[in-house]
């Protein structure tokens, strides 16, 4: 991709030709409506999640028995502006609980993906670059790990140990790294044969120096672009764990445990289980729109049509 005569550069004129592939991917993604839309909603939600619970005088875990089962805005009879999404069976404000849930969800999603990315890409790069026995060993471990379904691994470990945020991040990350390892490995394999890497070898650079200073910067950004989609996937996963009772434990609200609670009151108070789901859906759609737009941009740039 660094050859000046590649078709990527011929399509571009003037200053844009000097951009690195990563910059071109970013500007390509920014050009799509889905990306701006997704980013906008996501930022709004994230901002709300960070600010509103601090400003609000209501405590998301405080039980307020007289205000229980208040329906959301404009629904039913005794709705109020104080509780835009209504309250649950213990009179706790659902809007606030959703926002706090969102904090944990995004935090776990982002941390897990970073962890997966570092572990998976690290092993994948080493595996692809070193080859031979290192490669065989790492790839067989990857195969074995891939054939254990993530969910069985996660619920087995979390069912036995105490589910806290770091434990969940660790487990989900350990279950998800092999895909990154595979992608990073194949990218490293193709990068390895390029002239500039061979040049580095001739200059006497060590393997580690080549991997960290040259292969990683060339190979990792395109993989990171797709990682946004995984943040959304992990957030769903976290909510599933919460739903089964293996997520962050109550009274801390998470999407999973709010919905699990609300399920018991579904017939009379449908909103308790439904609203957090809509909230989560909105967040995930924004992330996925953003992620898919980035993926498309990446594919265009890599294929050389942008």
């Amino acid at each position: 991709m660094t050859h000046i005569d590649s078709p990527l550069y011929q399509n571009n004129t003037g200053a844009s030709a000097l951009k690195t592939p990563t910059q071109r991917m970013l500007s390509e993604a920014w050009a799509s409506l889905a990306f701006k839309f997704g980013l906008g909603i996501f930022m709004l939600l994230l901002f709300g999640a960070l600010i509103y619970p601090e400003l609000s005088s209501i405590d998301p875990t405080k039980i307020h028995i007289r205000a229980r089962f208040v329906p959301p805005l404009f629904m039913g009879e005794d709705w109020s502006w104080a509780h835009p999404l209504g309250t649950d069976h213990l009179g706790r404000d659902l809007f606030l609980r959703c926002l706090v849930g969102l904090r944990y969800s995004v935090m776990i999603g982002v941390c897990t993906v970073i962890f997966m990315f570092i572990l998976g890409c690290g092993l994948g790069l080493v595996s692809g670059f070193k080859g031979k026995l290192t490669d065989t060993i790492i790839m067989r471990i990857t195969d074995a790990q891939l054939s254990i379904p993530m969910i069985i691994l996660a619920i087995t470990i979390l069912g036995i140990s105490r589910p806290t945020a770091p434990a969940i991040i660790l487990v989900l990350g350990l279950a998800g790294w092999p895909l990154y390892a595979r992608v990073a490995r194949s990218a490293a394999l193709s990068e390895k044969t390029k002239e500039y890497i061979k040049g580095q070898r001739v200059l006497g650079a060590s393997d580690w120096r080549i991997i960290t200073l040259f292969v990683a910067p060339a190979v990792l950004p395109p993989i990171a672009f797709v990682a946004v989609l995984d943040v959304a996937a992990i957030m769903i996963f976290e909510s599933i764990l919460g739903f089964i009772g293996l997520g962050i434990q109550p009274p801390t609200p998470t999407f999973g445990n709010i919905i699990a609670d609300g399920r018991k009151y579904l017939i009379n108070s449908w909103w308790i289980a439904t609203m957090p789901g809509v909230f989560l859906l909105l967040t995930l759609v924004s992330l996925n729109l953003m992620g898919s737009a980035m993926e498309n941009a990446r594919n265009k740039v890599l294929k050389g049509t942008a």
Binding site: A34, R140, I141, D143, A144, L146, S147, I148, P149, M150, I151, I152, I155, T156, I157, G159, I160, S161, A232, I236, F237, S239, I240, F243, I244, G245, F255, G256, I259, R263, L266, I267, W270, A273, T274, P276, G277, L280, L281, L284, V285, L287, N288, L289, S292
Partner: protein, 326 residues
């Protein structure tokens, strides 16, 4: 001959993967806190009974010895007995340690085999639903890249992939079973109980199919042989049906091999929500009860299915496109 060497090689590799999986799960379950003997006899039992039980199960031997014994049993087709489930079906729970019903514990293999048909039925119907939903969208998007069909497919895919499946299950059950009363949603008494869960599962699978189809069809349509086909006087429908879709179905097949794991995750949750008596509910209950032999058995079984499906996918791909090597 070529086929034979391919099968031997892949089956051998598969066996190695299975061995690693078995060892990993086995060790994991042995090193975590919680004494199985204590779990079996219950919290009220005196220590001698626990000790006796541990001795009977061979839990006092070193882990490698236990593992070797377990492997030996597997080769004879014995995945062990459940800790808690009696043959009669009801779970024992926290009954007294000298309860006579404790003796007869169900075999893991028969538990799994009993659940498998229902799970296959659910997964099969879900795949049918998913294909029906995604084919029109994906093919239309692939044929018209950049047009509204493409955008529609992109948007539908993004929304479907964002739907938390357990939540969708709850909402659909509420609408179709409680409010409208059209479809049943809890337990299993007949084929109609499969429809709602299969639909939820299908929503989870279809984004991947839509995406793969639209990308690969768009790619195939740019090939020279497609342009040549219309010069050869072939009709548009035949070009798309016989040439484009046939070539685009290879990535789709590969996708099934890769996405099996994710599919299983959704399957587990969907079965739990709809109280569907398949493999997934068995697994989740086993995990929550710490019924180690069942967890081990299911993990090995699923890994085996995984290995076989990936071999089958490669075989099918080379059947569709004879240029592909095994």
């Amino acid at each position: 001959m070529h086929l034979l060497s391919f099968l031997t090689r892949r089956l051998l590799q598969g066996a190695i993967v299975l061995l690693i999986v078995t060892f990993a799960i086995f060790t994991l379950l042995r090193v975590v806190p919680g004494d199985p003997a204590r779990l079996i006899v219950g919290g009220m039992a005196p220590d001698e009974v626990v000790e006796q039980q541990a001795e009977a199960l061979g839990l006092n031997d070193p882990i490698p010895v236990q593992f070797a014994r377990y492997l030996g049993d597997i080769f004879q087709g014995d995945l062990g007995n459940s800790f808690f489930r009696p043959k009669s079906g009801a779970t024992v729970g926290a009954a007294a340690f000298d309860d006579p019903t404790r003796g007869d514990r169900a075999e893991v293999l028969s538990l799994i085999l009993g659940r498998i048909p229902l799970t296959f039925q659910l997964a099969g119907l879900a795949v049918v639903f998913a294909l029906v939903m995604s084919f029109p969208l994906g093919v239309a998007a692939g044929l018209n890249p950049g047009k509204w069909q493409d955008k529609l497919a992109f948007f539908t895919g993004s929304v479907f992939v964002s739907v938390p499946n357990f939540w969708l299950g709850i909402v659909l059950a509420q609408i179709f079973s409680v409010n409208l009363g059209i479809l049943p949603s809890l337990g299993y008494k007949g084929f109609e109980y499969t429809i709602l869960p299969a639909f939820v599962l299908a929503v989870g699978i279809s984004p991947f199919i839509i995406r793969t189809l639209s990308v690969s069809i768009a790619q195939v349509m740019q090939e020279e042989f497609i342009a040549m086909a219309s010069l050869r006087g072939l009709k548009r429908a035949r070009i798309v049906g016989a040439h484009a879709i046939r070539n685009a179905s290879i990535p789709l097949l590969n996708l099934f091999g890769i996405q099996m794991g994710a599919l299983l995750g959704v399957l587990l949750v969907v079965e739990l929500i709809f109280d569907y008596p398949g493999l997934g509910r068995l697994t989740i209950n086993a995990v929550l009860q710490r019924d180690f032999p069942i967890i081990q058995g299911v993990a090995i079984f699923i890994s085996a299915i995984f290995v076989f499906i990936n071999i089958a996918v490669d075989l099918a791909a080379s059947y569709i496109d004879p240029r592909l090597e095994y």
